[in-house]
Amino acid sequence: MSIVTDLLAKPGVVAAGEYAYRGDRFSYRGALSEEHARKASIMCRATTMSVNMEASMLEALEPLSGLPPPRGWLVHGPDYSVCVIANVFCLIDNSKGSINDLVGFMRQALAHVPSDMI
């Protein structure tokens, strides 16, 4: 089973997908239209590239800080959250899912993914 399929089986996950770091393709499953999933993957990819740039600046200032390479990021809204680890994203309904469980699962499942963003 793919990570996206596994994620969709988790409580509260509305949609999940993967994007290519170079930005030329994406795939998804869940309650989003193709166009909205494309926009979501673009926003997630842009933020991932941005936090990687920021982490490398922090590393230049303070080597071995413990931040780089960043594994992902999370935006928590009043009803929904977006969680991204490596090149995998998912949308979660806060009232139905556990952020702690989801981050733990994604970190473990994607621990083997290289951090060179290729």
């Binding site: 936090v51 920021e54 009043p78 009803d79």
Partner: protein, 135 residues
């Protein structure tokens, strides 16, 4: 007991800090000075201020574009690093803005070791409602 002190009681808490909307570091607590120092917190505060603003712009745009609500206002932005995560919130500022206050409180954040991080407990402390004076 301040919110910073409460944040420092979270499992794996390494540092807690306050910062301005422009990213300037204000008050802070550091549990492990050999791993997190003031210089790291200073750049981290600037990074988090920038990411919180971008996330807010994206949430607003996403809601307009899709008609899906419940993303805005952003309550917390979390960056998950290799060894530790940082969680920041501007919710208290949002409450003051909505109350029509001109003077806004600082943003707050906590750095937690990944292996022990309890993100939901951090959210709960950062989302704790405080009375807005004169509201």
């Amino acid at each position: 007991m301040t919110t910073l002190d409460d944040l420092m009681k979270l499992p794996g808490a390494m540092a807690a800090f306050e910062f301005r909307g422009g990213g300037e570091l204000l008050e802070h607590r550091i549990a492990y000075p050999d791993r997190i120092n003031q210089s790291i917190l200073d750049l981290l505060a600037h990074m988090c201020a920038a990411n919180l603003s971008i996330a807010t712009m994206q949430a607003r745009g996403w809601e307009k574009m899709t008609g899906m609500e419940g993303f805005y206002p952003i309550q917390e932005f979390t960056l998950i690093g290799f060894d530790w995560s940082v969680v920041v919130s501007g919710l208290l500022r949002e409450q003051h803005k909505q109350a029509g206050k001109f003077s806004l409180p600082p943003l707050m954040g906590v750095v937690m070791a990944n292996e022990k991080a309890d993100y939901e407990a951090a959210f709960a402390i950062l989302e704790r409602k405080e009375p807005v004076q004169g509201a």
